[in-house]
Symmetry: D2
Subunit: 177 residues, 4 copies
């Protein structure tokens, strides 16, 4: 069976986006890259600051409201349908709900061949990269570093603390069926 979905899960500033772009560059087929950032950008601006939507608190915490959840469920069903229609898709997400977030995706992607990848990064190093990026709320990297991996099961884990994005992408690419 052929891998249809590569799911990357990791905290903010753990290096997911760089790995995604490297995967798109090294994989011979064209893969679509869709992440939680794509979903957030597709939402109304007002959803990014309201209780019903998604809220990025000053301390780096992220709170998701009922309207966000309901659009997210539809989004996940749609991404799964793209795969069933023949697209190969790399998803990068932040499992704020840990194992619960994984279950949501498992339900949406039922019957598809998914490679589950954990993207780790030492919290201190991720915090420094957050400073270097300059456009992120301080504190997200640290608060998410462990949280998003709780009770999540992976086929493969990579760690960007001492490994470059391209090397991580090559490790992942080597695991594809």
């Amino acid at each position: 069976m052929t891998t249809q979905v590569i799911m990357l899960n990791g905290g903010s500033s753990s290096g997911k986006s760089g790995i995604v772009r490297c995967l798109q560059a090294v994989l011979p087929d064209p893969w679509l890259a869709l992440g939680v950032d794509t979903l957030v950008e597709a939402m109304p601006a007002s959803m990014r600051t309201s209780d019903a939507g998604i809220e990025f608190a000053a301390d780096g915490g992220v709170n998701v409201g009922p309207r966000f959840r309901s659009l997210q469920v539809a989004w996940q069903a749609g991404v799964a349908a793209m795969v069933r229609a023949g697209a190969r898709v790399i998803i990068d997400d932040v499992f704020l709900g840990g194992a619960g977030s994984q279950r949501d995706w498992q339900r949406a992607l039922a019957g598809l061949d998914v490679l589950w990848v954990g993207v780790r990064c030492d919290a201190k190093v991720a915090e420094g990269r957050e400073v270097a990026r300059g456009d992120r709320v301080r504190g997200m990297a640290v608060s998410q570093a462990d949280l998003v991996h709780q009770l999540v099961a992976y086929d493969l884990e990579v760690d960007t603390t001492h490994t470059e994005a391209l090397a991580c992408a090559q490790i992942i690419a080597a695991q594809l069926d």
Copy 2:
């Protein structure tokens, strides 16, 4: 029946994105905004310059290859599935194939309640706005201004030549079931 999809079609620099953001602001429910730009950004960087992908020629022409087409079909199926799963979606697209492009979307969105909106702008004015944006290949606005509307059927047309984006959005919002 309730409108589930608002489909905006218009040439480059005709003002679609501004209308989309105004629609998201004035409509009481949260609508997702997904456009052809979302799809292009999801593709590998190499697809944006290759014959098999999408090519933005120096004269403003846009050529779409077989691999782009095949990902686009899957993308359209996925967007339709998001709507079937409960999301209300605003799509902005550039029907480079005119009526043929509309048929593709009609097939994907079969059974859904779609409001088809043509976004017009005088070619000369759109060309000036292309200069004012500064980040677009010159010539796209003029070459697409009429082309994208050929034989396309609309429920409603707006013209941004003399009407602001917010006013266009209010006209469209008033037509929703």
Copy 3:
């Protein structure tokens, strides 16, 4: 004498940036474009949210602190020096202090040939364009629309309410010595 500086002053979402890009496109010589946004981006991220720096309040108000002011004075001296060294420069600014802001620039640009241009836009229209841009704090357009022009003296005024950016640029270009 030859015009060395084009100074555009107008409120947020009045259309200054579009005019700047059109001026750069229509003027035969290469002009540098430097605005208050360039200065704000050059500052530390922490200055964008602190009392000592610049603060964008939730209601659209903008407050500038002592450290911002002191960097701004140095910035203005530097921009003037670029002009004295031979560069032609288009500056776009938001005179939050009205005539006082103009005096600061007059001091820095003493002896240089400056074309002072007011960029007007009806407050209601600017407010709608703020919504269409989607990335601005709501309320800035309205709160600045009149404020920034108080007691400021211009060589020329343009109004983007019913005039496109390119046409405004052509009006300005025709006034250059």
Copy 4:
């Protein structure tokens, strides 16, 4: 004497921007960050693709024409004037002319206290990071990695190959007078 300018020189994708943002975060005073990217963005769009301006060749080569050079000289004089007027400035540049580029800056910054910092990165690693960024012309990282350091004299060198941006910034900050 107090350090007034931190000059970072390194090839594309060597990690200069991240170090700049970390320096702004760790230094107690507010420093302005101005780089060659600021200058390129200030130029007319047409200068970015013309023989007289700056040209980014498909193989990653960068060619600078006479009009670019002349604006650059004025820019350097202006940045120096900002420092003389009291601003502390971090400059990041790409010395395509090696020692000649350094002489140009030395002339502009005469009499000021400058900390010259070389930012090194293994060419292979920089090439991988170029892929991970996704928005750069491929080949720039490799072609500039050694070129920009030829015969340049530094007070300090940092190497981002195995050292994080924040750690590099802390090394630099410790050297300030």
